[in-house]
Each structure stands twice: as structure tokens, then as C-alpha cells.
Subunit: 239 residues, 4 copies
């Protein structure tokens, strides 16, 4: 399985708080723990040519992980189209945290993907609400993060096909933090945590979820629909 | 309630078969039977200024009905954005037949909305699969259309929030013919039948469904979410 | 529309705290505010003959509201079957608070309907997560209850067809507090708040939700499926 | 992984047509092709002690496959409770064909699970409607069965969490033929084909679906919720 971790990689260059937590970038940290899963992991970032998302690389990518925040607008529409097409063709997509506002996520959802937010070093507790879901494998009843950014409802997304996690925040809000969708032959998983100023991607449970999600969104040679004009499979009576 | 029936209105101008069936246009036929419902009905067409979809008119529209086919590309992106915003703000949207490929429907779904199709004067039977759904009020177990265009699976849409009708086609295909979605504060209903060369919109059951759908997608003063930076509702501990 | 409010009515007889809050019983309080809706409201309680749920009364009931807690086991299985059949035949059902453990709710859900709970006078905040849903008409972004019993996830129910409210609790839990289902021709809405020792059913927003839910679960003359052996509608080829 | 194939095994004893097609019983045929999957397969039948479903055997079973038809009533309620509990605790369940009327399926669904049916040697075509679903791995766009019993809508089940297949029948009906559900920690998949007088379980595509479903319903060490009275995780203010 080929996993590609895409990161905007801008906070890391500008903000020493972030680069201290993630010296190899958020993409580096995620790629690092995914390597324990016996999958091939590559990384790509915004400032590379074609944002590092060439046709060639995408075509052999099974699962794409997306982290972006302050530069969503700089992602070229043509590349967004390319990723969109690949998702519908079966490439799994995991959208993390502030990626909720990425062009690719908004395009796949059809809504604004807007939400409430607050940076206040507050506690987040993610409750498992679907204990049958493979993405929860190996977890306890909840994941606790001592400090995170708050995201609060209403989260303007379509009703998830599968709702896996609900977050409780110290400041009084709740959030649908783990939301799974089917789009074409592809599967999409949105996972809330991961603000750049916290070491969230070093948390073992968070890593567990992302590892599980990689396996869950990975498509398994499912059928490719044929579209367009179709000959009848049965005789049609003359009337 | 203000209902706006939008029609591309091109087949009617070019194809005498169509203009004979729908002398006042498909929009005229739909507007005509909706007037029985004690709602205010307006119509708009592609070739009007701003396609007849001015900010002013959309802002007072509760439910928009959309029929388009051969000129989806001529609908200006700016107008699509305008309609999209109104749907998320609570305007109901009913997309009919070949409107599956309209810009607005594809934008709301996030998928290609592609399908199989065939024009062969074949029989369609729409089975009710959710007999609790208000859109089925007053119907029998199925609706039969002697001749219709075939649309067949796979239909590349997100899994419907509510699946109301399934079609059987003489030539051997099936189709998810009545599919309901929630997007923001708005409700969307896709309804398959209505090829321009058949008198489908004179069928009493088809009219019943569209009348029911108008009531179902009409928003009832639900809450308007507030997005963006939010002050805490509860005290956050210092750590 | 005929609404029937059913209450176990045991706490009211035993606990002066409850009878002081609800001198006419919880059923009396609910019936009282529903009368503002121009519907016919009846009440029934556990200790009546057939628990007040005669065939005759159920057959003319459009919407049944259910509150029970300490005597679920005393509800006769035969009466549960009767209510179950009526729900599948189109009678709307609203299950309140501790009714999550009622025989009828468990039978309709197919799961244990178990949950976490705590009586600690804590704050509950119910967030609207589907602002397109008619059950949220007239509400703000959330409902706040100063003191309520806590119900926490995991709530062992099937994934709701429509998830309307999510609760935040002061003690750190979340809960799917407004959950809508389709069963046969019937609609079911579970609404969490309403512990007997708090005046929750006098809260205007809570009343608004129950009033909205009564309209939402009320079936509108939808089709009655025919089951069993069926003659073909089309000719079947001899092979 | 331990798979247990349960079969009523009555048609095989009474009807030579069936015993000729399935000389080792339907359970034998299913067990046979599942052995290709490198899983441990056991079988059990109605007339064994405890229907072959002892606590000990069920506790070590990961996936249970269920085929029944004419003797649903003979399955003891106590054993149904035992299977139900195991499903909620995470044992996967695959219900085949006439198992739609089994006690365990009706209990998990909460509805009558009734449908239309006809034995007329007619053609069935199962269309894939979710080409992202792992259960469709290795299939084409549809599966064709030359002769099968017809099952037609309305199928009185809750709206599937995931709808995978839709059937077209020669006689004019459609059916939701592959329906997936989550119940507690368990996953349930209903798959329509498999009437006893046809050699359906020798069809390679049908075998593929059942093999895929075995993997899909198999639970992967997901969290076990704790229910009941719960201490607060956060301080609750005194009011």
C-alpha cells in the first residue's frame, strides 16, 4: 500500500513553536509513525512543483493524508481536480484538523465545512460512538487530549455516512470529530485533532486512529462502474 | 410559500415533439399543477438576464425546482454560487431528471453524478422503499410510467440520507430514483423521471411526488448557526 | 391529530419532590403544553387497565409519547406487541428520557439501548447538529438546562437515520440526545432530557422540540405495502 | 478467524431436489468454499443440541452465517438471546436469503422484515450501488442469476446503514439485496440470494460476496463500552 502524506508546511517555516514540536514538519511526524505499519510512505508539500501531487505519484497512491491551514487558497484548482478525480476512482483520503477548509474537502462535501473555533489550551475528549467501527480498533472508550484547539458545532458538513467520534470540549462545545464518507469508489475520513501548536500527532491513540483509518479508506479492488449510453440487457417490448 | 420553477427551456424551442407536449414549456407545466397547492409559483429560464435567478428573487424563494439538460455549461458559475449559498441558507431544492448533471447538483453532491442512460421507450416502475416518508403521501406501492428514458446504476452520488424510490427498467437496470439530502439548513430532493419527449409531468402520481417534495424541502425557520471564533461558554482551567 | 401521552406515573405517587414539580404527573404537564398546538391530547398511565393502551384507543392515535423509568418490566408484552404493530403501521412514537430502556424502544431498536448515567445536578447543553431538521424549528443554536441527569456515550442504539441534537455535560460526557428513525410506516424520535426531579418539561425550548416532534412523527397517509406471494407484473420467459 | 455456518437443514432432508443440489447441505456447500479463505470453518444445524449453538462455541465464533426458512419458530428463544448478545458483543453476522424471517434478524432489525416473494424461475440481476464497499471487491458491475426466487419491495427493514446491492427481477420488482448494519460492537450483513432449489451458492460471484462479507463483519478488537452509573470526569460546579 502506498500512502502519501501531504502537508502545507508553512507554519513549520514561520512559527518556531511549531517547528520545535515538529522539526521534520507535521508530514514528517505522520510519515514516521505510519512506517511502523509496513506500508510505503511518501510525503509532499505545498511549495513543491505541482504541490508534489503529480499525476504519476497520485496514480500510484492508495491513500492520501491532507493537512493544510493558512494557505488553502494557494492550492491550484487544477491539482484539486486531479485529487478529486483520484478519490472518486478509489484513492482513500484522510483529511486532518484544519483541512476541513481545504478546497478538496469542501469540493467533496458540497458544503461550506465551516465551524466554531477557539485557541484556549482547553481539554478535548473524543468519545467513541460507533464501537463496531474498524477505525476504533485498539482504543479505549475515549481519547483525551490535555490541550487542543476547540472546534464546535454546527459543523457544516453533510450528515456523515458513519459517525465514529464525538468531541467534548472544556469550554462547553461538542463536535463530530470522526466522520466517514463514501464518494464514488473512494472513502473519505475526516479526523479533527491536530492543531499545529500542540504535539497531538505524537499521542499514541491519535496515531492509532490514523493508522486504522489508512487501512479503512484503502480501496480493495472494487468494481469500476461504466457510465453513459447503455444497450439493454433485456428485450424491450414494442408499444 | 414561494416556489420558483427553473427550466433551461431549450428543447422546447428546438424540438417540435417537446413543444407539442409542453406548449408552455416544462416549467409552465410544472408551475401549472403546483398552483393547485396554494403556493405562489414563479418561473425562470436560462435565457433570461441572470438566468432569471436574481439575488432579489432567490432571497424570497422558499423552494427552487430545477430542470436542465443540454445547456448545463451555459449556467454562469456566479449564479450557481448564488443558488448554492441560498440552499445552504435554507432554500429547498428539487432537482429533476437530467438536472443530475447540472452544476448546482454536482456542486452540492461533490461527485460526478454520472449514470447509465438509454432512450428506448421503455417501461419504468418506481417502487416506494420508504413508506414512512412524507414524499410518498397519497401514492400506491409504485408508480408506473409506460415510456421513459432509462437511467441506470451506478449513479455516482453520495449515499442518500433518505432513499425514497427505486426504479425498475424493462431493459434490465435499476436506479435510485428518489434521493433526499440535507445540506446546511437546506434540503435537496432528486427525482428521476421527466424526459422531455414524454408527457411525464402530466402523470398524476409524478405531480403528487413533486407537490409533496415542495412541502418536504421547505425549511421551517430552523436555527441559523454562527461560525468562526467563539468565546467559551464555560470556564477553562489554567494548566 | 390525536396525540396520546403515556406515563408510568410511579415517581409522582412515591416521591414528593416529583409530585411537587409535576402535580398532575409528567403526562399532565406534557399534555398541557401540547394543547396549545390545536391537537387532541389524551393521556394514559401504567396502572390503568391494559395500561390505558386499548386497541381502540391506539387505533385512533396518530402520535404516542412515552415516558417510563422504574417499571418498564411491568408493561405487559402483549401491549408492547400492540404498540409495536401500530408504529410499523404508521403511528408516530416519541420516546422521552428514561424511556430508552422501555420494552417498546428496545424492541424497535434491536439493541440494549444502554448508556452511562449520573444524577449530579449538572449542566446539559444540547447542540443542534442538523439545522435543516423540522424538529429544530424556532430554536437557537443550543438548548441549555441548568440541572439535569447525565446520560453519556456509548449509547447502544443503531446509528440514527437523522441525528438532531448532541448533548454536552459538565462532567465530561457527550450524548446523541435527539435521534430519529424510520420503522415500517412509522417514525420514531428519541429525545433525552426530562429526569423526573427537574422541571425540564416546563422549559420553553424543550416544549418546542416535543411540539415539533409531534408534527414530524405524524404520518401523512403514506402507502401501505402489500407483503407475501406476488404475481409477476411482467412476463417471465420460459427457460 | 472462526466462522460458523448455521443451517436449518430441513429442506435437504425432505426435498430430493435440494439434497441433490446440496448433498452436504447448504451449510456444507458454504463451509466448503469458505475454507479457501484460510479461516477455520465450523457448521451447526437446527436439530443438534442447542441447535449446535452452545455458549462455548459462540464465544469463540468471530462470524456466524445464518440460513433458515421453514423452521424459524423452532429456534428456541433462549438461543436467539444468546446469539443476539454475541452480535452486540462483536460477533459478525451474515444473514442469507430466507433468513430475513429468522428470529435473530427480526430482533436485530426491530421490524417485521416482511417482503414480496414468488417462485417462478426468473432472472435476478444484482447491481452494485456502492462501488467503494469492500464487500464488492473483485466483482463486476452486477451479478446475474439465471433463475432465482423473487423477493420484492417493500422490504420492511430499517434503512440500511450501507446499501450495497439492488436487485432487478424479470417479473417487474426491485429489492435491496445487500444491506449492512451496525448493532452494538457487531456488524450485520443481509444478502438476498440463495433459494434452496437453485445452485446459487456454487456461483463464483455469490461466493465472492460471502467471502468478502465474512471479512467485513469480522470485528477487529474495537473498544468495549462501559455502561451504568459513571463518576464525573470533570468537576461539577455546586449551584
Amino acid at each position: 500500500m502506498n500512502v502519501l502524506v501531504w502537508n502545507e508546511n508553512r507554519h513549520e517555516k514561520k512559527n518556531p513553536v511549531v517547528s520545535e514540536i515538529y522539526p521534520k514538519g507535521i508530514h514528517g511526524a505522520i510519515a514516521n509513525f505510519l512506517q511502523e505499519e509496513h506500508v510505503t510512505v511518501n510525503t509532499a508539500t505545498l511549495d513543491e512543483d505541482e504541490h508534489g501531487l503529480t499525476e504519476e505519484l497520485l496514480n500510484k497512491t492508495d491513500v492520501l493524508i491532507w493537512w493544510g491551514h493558512i494557505a488553502h487558497d494557494e492550492v491550484q484548482d487544477e491539482i484539486v481536480e486531479r485529487v478529486h478525480k483520484r478519490v472518486l476512482d478509489g484513492m482513500g483520503l484522510i483529511v486532518l484538523h484544519s483541512g476541513h477548509f481545504s478546497k478538496i474537502f469542501k469540493k467533496l462535501m458540497g458544503t461550506t465545512c465551516d465551524l466554531k473555533w477557539r485557541e484556549a489550551d482547553e481539554k478535548e475528549r473524543l468519545w467513541v460512538v460507533d464501537p463496531s467501527h474498524p477505525i476504533t480498533e485498539g482504543l479505549g472508550e475515549y481519547i483525551e487530549l490535555e490541550k487542543e484547539e476547540m472546534y464546535g458545532e454546527h459543523f457544516d458538513i453533510p450528515s456523515p455516512d458513519e459517525l465514529v467520534f464525538l468531541s467534548w470540549f472544556e469550554g462547553g462545545e461538542v463536535f463530530r470529530s470522526g466522520a466517514a464518507y463514501q464518494r464514488g469508489k473512494g472513502k473519505v475520513f475526516y479526523f479533527r485533532p491536530g492543531h499545529e501548536t500542540y504535539p497531538t500527532y505524537y499521542n499514541q491513540d491519535i496515531q492509532r486512529v490514523i493508522k486504522n483509518a489508512v487501512r479503512w479508506v484503502n480501496n480493495a479492488n472494487t468494481p469500476t462502474p461504466v457510465y453513459g449510453n447503455a444497450k439493454p440487457l433485456e428485450a424491450i417490448s414494442k408499444k
